[in-house]
Amino acid sequence: MSALRSRRGTAAANLTAVVVFLLFVFPVYWMVSTAFKPAGDIRTFDVSLFPTTVTLENFRTAIGADGFWRFMRNSLIVSAAVTFLAVLVALLAATAVARFRFRGRRTYLLMILVVQMVPLEALVIPMYLTLRDADLLNVLPVLVATYMAFVLPFTVWTLRGFVAALPVELEEAAMIDGASRWGAFWRITFPLMGPGLVATSVFAFIQAWNEFILALTLMERQNQTLPVWLGTFKTAQGTDWGGLMAGSTLYAIPVVIFAVLLQGRIAGGAAAGAVKG
């Protein structure tokens, strides 16, 4: 009887799991499926949960919209630049805090922790005023710099975890075998950091890619990024939901791909093998 009850419990749990899955996926599904529906199937109250006719018309509208490619390009350039710079600077700092004990280390780490929490939304006004006085509004490289403000602390913290998790013994063994400290780091630790660097880079990229308020306030029309274009997208004849959903889908695709890649890459940490034997 208790076996029966537990079997019933398992069935209920599985059913709940399916419901949870559907609830979390539905908004994404609705975005993508709307993007593929013809206008007639969108602008009707006779909603069909599955698209009956599939069209690429909405994607053509979104891509053909004024400036789409420029905004896409801006977003890509800014996110890639921020990622590269932040990971580079963070790699130095992360190595220092994970491999050395030095005076001020604890203070530095506490600072990184606190600084991650500063609400960027509150800094938009001074950033705007400062850049305006320096005549630097609406300049893409400057946007990159401002993004560093929130991407860098997070990147330092995350990378530090990865470096700290790599056994220092490997480096020491190399040094006993005659490698210099730099050589030991460069040839032994750095290659092992591959997964950590990839993961951290992806997180940094996603943060920059998603950023909204700084681009909204510090950039003007032609230098906007994709989220601002999307967030303020309107057409003369009311909202074009098909085009909007197609745009949202295109904008979301890189992040979703990255997220999926990330979990695949992360799983097989190289160092696990290195230490096992």
Binding site: N14, F24, F100, M245
Partner: protein
């Protein structure tokens, strides 16, 4: 000679703190999920709720190796490595913070802005903000909003994590995949979709309500009433925030030994009591960290409100950051806006102090 690092408390369960980026609980929190049900990477990065099993750089069956002291005199090298990041942070965060505080003591309306005048007004801006009844309404609203979002996020996140513990591998992968998708959707996309799902004319929710219930909601406007408008915003924020919490808690749950739960069961604990008296206390540090992070993130929600309602109807869904934004970029009262922003930063700082204290007490690595 090596490892005279002092006796540290054993590494305990604590997720690596991660910043979600500009949007509460929605940005690039290091959630990213190993669908196989292992540790989220950043959480697994050195300080995972569990010694990462298949996480990034795991040493099987061993806590992540803490950095060790190798030499007493380390020389200038670590300082040289840290300096670039310090300089960048001082310039990119410290300086704007200084300008923010300075501006909060200035009269800076459109007139002064255009003429580039500096007019000091002492505490006038704070007096203006604190005597503005809208500010108080906004402040209370923001606190209530954050409380609801955090409660829902932690509550639902816990339930989903427990569910993932309960079901088999296939179902767990399914749930994790759903969470990953919700987490990975950029906030602007998410907000746009929620606007569409709750659209007055063609929204699928109105359609479903009309089809499935006797109500006719074919023209029901979710955004004409502040409560239902807020419901949509909260739903959107929570939908994106739950994955991080659920996956971190799931990873933490796997660290609770089966024997302990078994013992509780033999002693006559039902599932609820076992959770309440065994699991929850063991995971208290994780809960504390997740809660403080969620509070910090949900206090500063901006994007979702901006995209979904722009503060409407009748400015009834304006939260603190949108208030600041409108005071500044809307009506060009940058001094007043700065004063409001300073108050917002101070509030966040309070929560941050709590968060850092938890992190330190938990013995998050070797701070």
């Amino acid at each position: 000679m090596e490892n005279d690092a002092t006796n540290r408390p054993p590494e305990e369960a604590a997720p690596a703190p991660t910043d979600p980026g500009p949007d509460a609980g929605a940005g690039a929190v290091a959630v990213a999920v190993d669908v196989a049900g292992t540790v989220p990477p950043a959480a697994g990065a050195g300080s995972g709720p569990v010694p990462p099993v298949s996480g990034s750089a795991a040493v099987p069956g061993q806590a992540p190796v803490a950095p060790r002291q190798r030499r007493r005199e380390v020389g200038p090298l670590p300082y040289a490595l840290v300096v670039p990041s310090v300089l960048l942070l001082v310039g990119l965060l410290g300086y704007p913070l200084y300008v923010l505080v300075r501006t909060s003591f200035q009269l800076l309306d459109l007139r002064q802005l255009v003429r580039r005048q500096t007019v000091w007004t002492g505490l006038d801006n704070y007096a203006t903000v604190l005597s503005d009844s809208e500010f108080w309404a906004v402040a209370v609203r923001t606190l209530v909003f954050a409380a609801i979002c955090v409660g829902l996020t932690i509550g639902i996140g816990t339930l989903v994590a427990l569910l993932m513990r309960r079901v088999g591998k296939g179902m767990r992968l399914l749930v994790a995949a759903g969470l990953l998708l919700a987490w990975a959707t950029p906030p602007v996309s998410a907000a746009t979709v929620f606007r569409w799902v709750f659209d007055e004319q063609y929204g699928v929710v109105n359609w479903a309500v009309t089809r499935l219930t006797p109500l006719d909601w074919s023209q029901h406007s979710w955004f004409a009433d502040r409560y239902s408008a807020f419901a949509v915003i909260i739903l959107c924020v929570v939908w994106q925030a739950v994955p991080f919490v659920a996956l971190t808690l799931y990873a933490a749950l796997t660290t609770v030994p089966d024997e302990v739960l078994e013992a509780a069961r033999i002693d006559g604990c039902g599932p609820w009591r076992a959770f309440r008296h065994v699991t929850a206390p063991m995971l208290k540090p994780v809960f504390l960290i997740l809660t403080s992070l969620s509070v910090i993130w949900d206090l500063k929600v901006f994007t979702q409100v901006y995209v979904i309602t722009r503060g409407g109807p009748d400015r009834q869904t304006v939260l603190i950051n949108l208030y600041t934004y409108t005071q500044g970029f809307g009506v060009s009262r940058f001094g007043v806006a700065s004063a409001a922003a300073v108050i917002m930063v101070a509030l966040t700082l309070l929560v941050t102090v709590w968060y850092v204290r938890v992190m330190v007490r938990v013995g998050e690595e070797d701070l």
